[in-house]
């Protein structure tokens, strides 16, 4: 029989009559109907739920776990946040803390966080496709859903969508945001917070309008070729310039440089001979006594970097700075750089010479060894200028004849929600947003040699921090309900006025101290300093700052004030920086009795063990976290001590002193005891 004949006979067998047709169709229908429940039975999430049930079945707390278990698709729907999450369909044990360390994913409980899972959902923090019910769609990227699960190391970025103010628990996010400002990222890239405030840079790149006064063309050439070769801690990135481009930019920089303004107060001491080892040694002493190391780092003989990072590293400064410029700078830095963070020390000419001699002796020869530049031609200078324009140098530095470029680089306000379809990935890299941002930061030129973004020198954890900060810049952040948003404190516009204000500006007090929410965090907050200290002590301290905190290596420098200057500053601080919370004269220390003080001494050494952190009796006490109290009675105001003991955190939020919540009697007694402490001041304590 032919094939056609066989088909025909089979057809006759199945549909040979109405009864046969009916029976056959019923079988087909039954099979079709069975597909749905069968498909349902083999669902991925159902398999996980069955696994979970067998996991908990034999546990001693299995009954209660089973009672809390709900089968079927579990969904969190939060219309306000635009969240539809079905993650809990497989992650069934998110709230079962007893399974910590016992189960494996997807049966692990969520680690403790300050938010309710049901109020925030999952994708707010972890990204991924919340509505999906298969692992690959929920976790991975699909053509219709670009957002895969966020790798755990960047999860702090999600906090940053609402939390503009730094959170103690998100160090990586805070570090990344700090870096965006510190490394000048926001000078080229605009980054705006959800409430519309543009992030501002905190670095102070020097102006280059008088650069020829400061350094040589050879040094500029070596520096722009590789800043880190001159100073390992340099924040300027490497622009990977060719020798020709570096030659032409250095030619332009020298060419555009103008001399100092004629009215500048020039006071150049004789340049000491560098062979004079004794003078260099003396200069090193003055450098140390002036606490230059509070802001500037320098590599010591052992190769260790010692010092702060507010100012530039000075390890090889002798190869960079001309002696005459250094003298001018030490005399008054504002003449060269009106925005510098460096205070105007009132150095004597002799000391300027000594520090200059010391700094000029600190040379490094490696970066300059192979630089041989011929005199610049006008064509080179012109090419250098066009390069400066092209590379966006003026986004950070000021030049003569080059305008500051606006929006030089792409805005990064919503970079955390960048569509993958808009990204040109480098060959061979994973197609995810965090990988893209990370690769951009690590090696910008891997995306093409013509790109302008320079090469930074960041560690792995620094790159992670930056990526975290950038991923926080989502478009979702803008659409979130305003009630969820924790805005950053608005930038303080506080400026002290009058003669004292001018002095404080001259001394750059705000580089280290905070007053009224403005300023640096290296030194104590002075907002209520006028309520805290006694005027006579303050005048003395300003003239001869001695060390209050023995364990600190960053210290207040001696500015060499005149009597009049110290008095003007002290008057202003005593008047303007008083807290409205209490009257500084409300406690009369002379009314304390000897019994009060004796009681205070017992409390000081007994109940409150203050000697753990403070030195009051240098022969006996050893603690050195808090300031020394040997002279507390000369330094501090009685009402301040009293309120400080009751709640120091209210007076200076974030201070290391606890909120003791002390009762009035104890606080009074300890105040009486401390006001007795009037040890004679030791000359030269600051050394």
């Amino acid at each position: 029989m032919s094939a056609r004949g066989r088909t025909r006979s089979a057809g006759r067998f199945l549909f040979g009559g109405s009864a046969r047709s009916f029976a056959s169709l019923s079988v087909v229908l039954l099979a079709v109907l069975a597909i749905v429940p069968a498909k349902d039975h083999f669902r991925e999430w159902l398999r996980y739920q069955n696994q979970y049930q067998s996991l908990i079945r034999n546990r001693s707390d299995g009954v209660s776990l089973a009672r809390r278990f709900q089968g079927g698709v579990q969904q969190i729907w939060l219309p306000d946040l635009g969240v539809v999450d079905r993650c809990a369909t497989c992650h069934v044990a998110l709230k079962e803390t007893s399974l910590a360390g016992i189960g494996t994913e997807p049966f692990l409980p969520h680690s403790p966080i300050p938010h309710s899972l049901t109020e925030f959902g999952c994708v707010m923090c972890h990204r991924g496709q919340g509505a999906a019910t298969t692992v690959s769609e929920a976790h991975g990227a699909t053509p219709s859903w670009e957002q895969p699960i966020l790798p755990a190391r960047y999860v702090e970025s999600s906090c940053g969508q609402c939390h503009e103010r730094p959170l103690t628990g998100t160090p990586q996010l805070n570090a990344g945001r700090g870096m965006l400002a510190r490394y000048g990222c926001v000078r080229c890239h605009k980054v705006t917070s959800p409430e519309g405030r543009a992030m501002t840079a905190t670095d102070v790149p020097p102006p280059l309008v008088h650069i020829a006064e400061k350094t040589t063309r050879d040094w500029i050439f070596a520096w722009i070729k590789n800043p880190q070769a001159y100073a390992a801690t340099a924040t300027m990135p490497n622009f990977q310039l060719s020798d020709e481009d570096a030659r032409d930019i250095s030619a332009f920089l020298i060419g555009q440089s103008t001399p100092y303004p004629a009215e500048a107060n020039r006071k150049t001491p004789p340049v000491p001979s560098q062979d004079d080892a004794a003078a260099v040694q003396q200069g090193a002493s003055v450098y140390g006594e002036s606490f230059c190391a509070s802001c500037h780092a320098m590599q010591n003989a052992a190769g260790m970097m010692v010092g702060g990072d507010i100012g530039p590293e000075l390890t090889g400064v002798g190869s960079k700075a001309k002696p005459e410029w250094l003298a001018e700078w030490l005399n008054d830095p504002k003449v060269y750089d009106p925005d510098t963070a460096m205070p105007h020390y009132r150095f004597e000419t002799k000391d300027i010479g000594l520090i200059m001699g010391f700094l000029e002796s600190r040379t490094e020869s490696d970066s300059l060894s192979n630089v041989h530049l011929d005199p610049a031609t006008p064509a080179q200078i012109a090419h250098g200028k066009s390069l400066v324009n092209e590379r966006g140098c003026a986004a950070c530095h000021t030049f003569n004849g080059v305008a500051h470029p606006d929006n030089f680089a792409p805005e990064l306000t919503a970079v955390g929600s960048l569509h993958l379809a808009k990204i040109v990935f480098a060959p061979g890299m994973p197609h995810t947003l965090p990988d893209y941002i990370s690769a951009k930061i690590r090696k910008p030129r891997s995306f093409g040699n013509a790109l302008k973004m320079p090469q930074f020198t960041f560690s792995d954890s620094q790159v992670d921090a930056l990526v975290t900060a950038l991923l926080a810049q989502t478009s979702r952040a803008k659409t979130l309900p305003a009630a969820l948003r924790i805005p950053a404190a608005p930038p303080s516009t506080y400026r002290p006025a009058g003669r004292a204000g001018a002095l404080m500006n001259d001394l750059r007090c705000f580089s280290c101290h905070t007053i009224d929410a403005r300023g640096g965090d290296m030194a104590p907050d002075l907002t209520w300093e006028g309520s805290s200290v006694q005027r006579s002590w303050l005048v003395n301290f300003l003239k001869r700052p001695n060390t209050l905190r023995p364990a600190l290596i960053r210290r207040m420098p001696k500015f060499n004030f005149t009597d009049e200057e110290a008095s003007v500053l002290a008057d202003y601080i005593m008047t303007a920086y008083q807290t409205p919370e209490f009257d500084r004269d409300q406690i009369d220390a002379s009314k304390f009795s000897a019994a009060d003080a004796a009681n205070g001494k017992d409390l000081y050494y007994g109940k409150y063990a203050c000697e753990s952190c403070h030195i009051l009796d240098p022969n006996k006490d050893k603690g050195y976290i808090g300031p020394t109290l040997t002279q507390a009675g000369l330094r501090l105001n009685a009402a301040w001590i009293f309120h400080w003991l009751k709640n120091a955190q209210a007076l200076r939020p974030g201070t290391l002193e606890l909120n003791w919540n002390m009762n009035d009697d104890d606080a009074r007694a300890i105040t009486a005891f401390l006001m007795q402490q009037k040890a004679a001041s030791k000359e030269g304590a600051s050394r």
Partner: protein, 238 residues
């Protein structure tokens, strides 16, 4: 917790077989492998630990063997850079480590083989912190470590040796694991004196909120060495 360890170790063993053999061929063999540095570090989940892990292959005299092949393994998504390599002139190989995304304890393994092909193993326990533990670590850095950490540096001088009763290091599990959670929270909140201990431990409530104190306790438990095992929870069967 021990079961989690075993599970991780099992996964590590499974993981070993999957590693592609792109490693260079060993030119020398040792008789032992030891951990030099990098163990017992804590980092945020998925983050890199601060210091690289360093393994050293030794000969019978205990001297480093250059040119021995060392492979690093870790379960739960741990990444090593490099994942394997030959030991240097000092017999050591170091790798930077990125921990897996789940918080908890990780047991990283460095393996080499002796001449007979028998695997030699050294483990590096590391800790991935969750949000609460990270918060605890940050609070510890600000408030506690000045006294509880005896390591002193010029930037951060330790006050540990200035106290009459030396404070316990937070990783001192042998001591701190004995203190139950209620007491641990109470000591942090109310100070040593309130619990009949040294008044040199001050009361951190109300300076720190209750959730901050919880976070500190969670951090102390997370980095305890030996590991902390909560009391009173027994399971018949996992």
């Amino acid at each position: 917790m021990r079961r989690a360890f075993m599970a991780l170790a099992l996964l590590a063993a499974v993981g070993c077989r999957k590693v592609p053999s792109s490693a260079p061929a060993a030119s020398a063999f040792g008789v032992a492998i030891v951990g030099v540095s990098g163990e017992k570090q804590a980092a945020g989940a998925g983050g890199s630990v601060d210091q690289p892990i360093v393994a050293q292959v030794n000969d019978a005299q205990g001297a480093g063997v250059p040119g021995a092949l060392v492979e690093f393994h870790g379960a739960g998504g741990v990444r090593f850079d490099p994942p394997s390599g030959l030991t240097g002139s000092d017999g050591q190989l170091s790798a930077t480590v990125r921990l897996g995304g789940a918080p908890g304890r990780y047991s990283l393994v460095a393996t080499t083989r002796d001449k007979a092909g028998k695997p030699l193993v050294v483990t590096f326990p590391e800790i991935a912190l969750d949000y609460q533990q990270t918060l605890g670590r940050e609070l510890n850095e600000k408030y506690c470590s000045r006294c509880h950490n005896s390591e002193s540096s010029a930037e951060k001088v330790s006050n540990h040796d200035n106290l009459s009763v030396p404070p316990h290091a937070f990783s001192d599990g042998a001591t701190l694991n004995q203190i139950d959670s209620a007491n641990l929270l109470a000591i942090i909140s109310h100070g040593g004196a309130a619990l009949g201990k040294s008044p040199e431990m001050p009361p951190y409530s109300p300076t720190l909120s209750a959730s901050d104190v919880d976070a500190l306790a969670a951090y102390i438990r997370a980095i305890a060495d030996p590991p902390y095992r909560p009391q009173g929870v027994f399971y018949a069967n996992p």
